[in-house]
Symmetry: C2
Subunit: 126 residues, 2 copies
Amino acid sequence: MLFANEAFYRAFADRDVAAMDGVWAAHAPVACIHPGWNALVGRDKVMASWRSILAGGAPDIRCRNAEASVFGSVAFVICYEQIGGEFLVATNVFVREEARWKMVHHQAGPTGRPTLEQDDEGGVIH
Amino acid sequence: MLFANEAFYRAFADRDVAAMDGVWAAHAPVACIHPGWNALVGRDKVMASWRSILAGGAPDIRCRNAEASVFGSVAFVICYEQIGGEFLVATNVFVREEARWKMVHHQAGPTGRPTLEQDDEGGVIH
């Protein structure tokens, strides 16, 4: 399940718009709350925001301490987003769509430095 | 579905610890991200945080523009939290537990003033 969460952060870090598009659900309704923004509802608005963010030189971002809660075909992941020495904390919601986990919602907001888990590979532990 | 979201904000505004306890899932794993905090994982930590917040004179809070996305027995609500003239934006995740919607996750973070929907009753529109 965390593979889908990793794919989101890989697309983010790689500034890969096509990969980011593939991370998000194609059919289920989607929404996104970037730090400090109002909520974006609907795939068109959400993807437009990602095109803008990724084109604008998105910061180097690293996912830390990801933990998933799975409820059948819906799951949410809580994780930290490390950008240099700063941290955001995120909620990422996924649903099963055509047998794959697809993102339907992302919210990130400011937080203090967490206690970080071992993370030599820059990946996800759990 | 939004009734459960309203119950959360009613418990918050009323500083009602028992009602807040009843809002959250009893069996499913729960988590909570208060604005600026690290993530709290587990019912004991989450409820301890609410007891502290509600005992400390929680601010008058009003839920605005709530919108639910329902995926079978899991749902999430995006809404704004108005505290005086300031706004937070929240993601609230619910699961069906013993035939009732129960909160399993809450994240709130700072945002700008949204375009507010008509909301004469101080309730939820959608």
